[in-house]
Symmetry: C2
Subunit: 336 residues, 2 copies
């Protein structure tokens, strides 16, 4: 207790210098001569001094911390984002305050307030409803640095993200190129108003002159493997004549794949399966999975650079910029 609670004042008392001199010495001010600095450093070491960041933050009006709000960590993509963000922030001397909204808008709102009260210097947010951004726009309107990790051209807030629409479009276009016409979509996100992938699907179909058959669009209950399994069952029961599908996540795709294997449906011959996010297990599935691929690490880095540049922009924030990275297709056995 005594050891942990040492303050500038204690060093001052020990050395006979004033608190301010001690502070300057420890911060290597040129005004302090070497001998004084040495004495003070010595005393600081002996007392096991550790500067109190809380006090420092109060006077400096910056905490060197940023808030990261994701929907959850069950999704490997968000996990990878959290990892990349934390790594990069630590490297830059920032601390990460982390929280998950569990896809609840109210919780998201209250987490934002909590972080604001804690005076984080900026926030990175993966919003749970891509269309419900009013509270985040408000934040920005108060000149608070925020960057979204998923976003639209008209978000009204800075964003650095993958272009989900383009990814879905590309994947469906690929399936069309391979001769498929009855292409299903497994996407649970669209019930929360996150229509990007669905729009990409639709636009690709439209570009090929095909109307979208609503029975080809399945909305699983979740985004996990089990949901994909059940969704596949549903799709086949509907007897839609689908010969290919795009799943909104690799987990869904892996579930669908598993159902096919269990049911003796040949992948890719009877059913081509396209995943999304290219997680580790996609590559290593029994039948390796084609997937929409993008570099999460570099997106995360760019997002951090953006939020830090906003933090450093003195005065008013610059107008929001949306950066959408176009994903690539990773073609594997499941769509050959």
């Amino acid at each position: 207790m005594a050891g942990s609670a040492s303050r500038l004042k204690d060093i001052a008392k020990q050395t006979g210098f004033s608190v301010n001199t001690v502070s300057l010495a420890l911060r290597n001010s040129p005004r302090i001569p070497d001998e004084t600095r040495r004495q003070i450093a010595e005393a600081a070491a002996k007392l096991n001094y550790l500067p109190n960041q809380v006090a420092k933050s109060l006077v400096m009006k910056e905490t060197r911390s940023i808030g990261l709000i994701l929907t959850d960590l069950t999704n490997p993509v968000l996990t990878a984002m959290a990892q990349a963000v934390e790594l990069e922030l630590t490297k830059r001397g920032y601390t990460t305050l982390f929280a998950t909204s569990n896809n609840k808008l109210d919780l998201e709102r209250s987490l934002i307030e909590t972080f604001r009260a804690r005076r984080v210097d900026g926030m990175l947010i993966f919003p749970c409803q891509h269309g419900e951004l009013e509270h985040i726009r408000n934040l920005r309107a108060r000149n608070f640095p925020v960057v979204l990790l998923v976003g639209d051209a008209d978000a009204g807030v800075d964003a650095v993200c993958m272009d989900e629409r383009a990814g879905a479009h590309k994947a469906v276009a690929h399936l069309l190129d391979n001769g498929h016409q009855r292409i299903a979509l497994l996407d649970s996100a669209s019930d929360k108003g996150n229509y990007e992938k669905r729009e990409g699907y639709t636009s690709a179909m439209a570009a090929a002159g095909l109307n979208v058959d609503p029975t080809l669009i399945i909305t699983p209950d979740g985004s996990d493997v089990a949901s994909g399994y059940l969704a596949m069952e549903t799709l086949l029961q509907n007897d839609t004549g689908a010969t290919a599908l795009l799943a909104a996540t690799d987990s869904l795709a892996l579930g669908a794949l598993r159902y096919c294997i269990k049911s003796g449906i040949k992948v890719p011959d009877d059913m081509a399966i396209f995943g999304f996010d290219n997680i580790e297990f996609a590559e290593h599935a029994v039948i390796s999975l084609s997937s929409v691929d993008y570099d999460i690490e570099s997106i995360s880095k760019m997002a951090i650079e953006r939020v830090i540049s906003l933090i450093n922009s003195k005065g008013l924030l610059p107008p929001p910029r949306i950066t959408q990275v176009e994903p690539d297709l990773m073609i594997r056995e499941s769509t050959l």
Copy 2:
């Protein structure tokens, strides 16, 4: 800017009351009459007042935040822990400061210092080297509340964790019961001095009167699926006559499983495979994977309860307690 920066002083100015009265009113002190409270609340709302947690922390000498240090987030188990910890802490009004050590002891040390400087009220740590805990014991010696998320009976620091040794022992015992004698171990952690699983393996073999054949112990380069794949290849090349294996993680097990399927080795007939951690993909593998299973959520909750109880223990910390939860076996197709 003006909007975000409102302080008690501003409300005081608006309403004509003193700063202290405002503070008391907003904290619902009984000494403040309703009418005054109303006026102050109104002004606070109009000014969009949000208490400054930094200032509050300084005077209250508590931040209501705890630091969570994991090795990384690529491991689904740690991901689940992070998720569970964050959820529970938020529920209890704490904020989570999150960081990963990337299995580097130096980084772990410096992260601890960073969190200490930020005056977190306590820490939850998944140490990267289970035998290197001196720096953490030092923390505790300074009366700082720490709880390990993995640990040994003689850690000298509080710990709430799964009993890896018991888990490995049980799994191997199960394989022995099924008639296997040549049982391999795939474990990359033991090169970092984390011998728990290996010890469990050894003790189970010893209990069956079997000596451990070192060629049966493979140390993959990592803990991911690809490493498991390569490790399986190595194992077979060594021509050890192994008929079963225990992998230290499900990812390794899935990699091994994949190699077997590619090579026409029948699972479980030619090779029984036991995984560890029971992640989602274990259940849904082509051949569903037996795995050592435990309730991460409840362990995380207990760990949080422990650290909070340490925080609330006024005066000296109580002597450290180690709680080890014994895992169960989830038996599936891969070891039938």
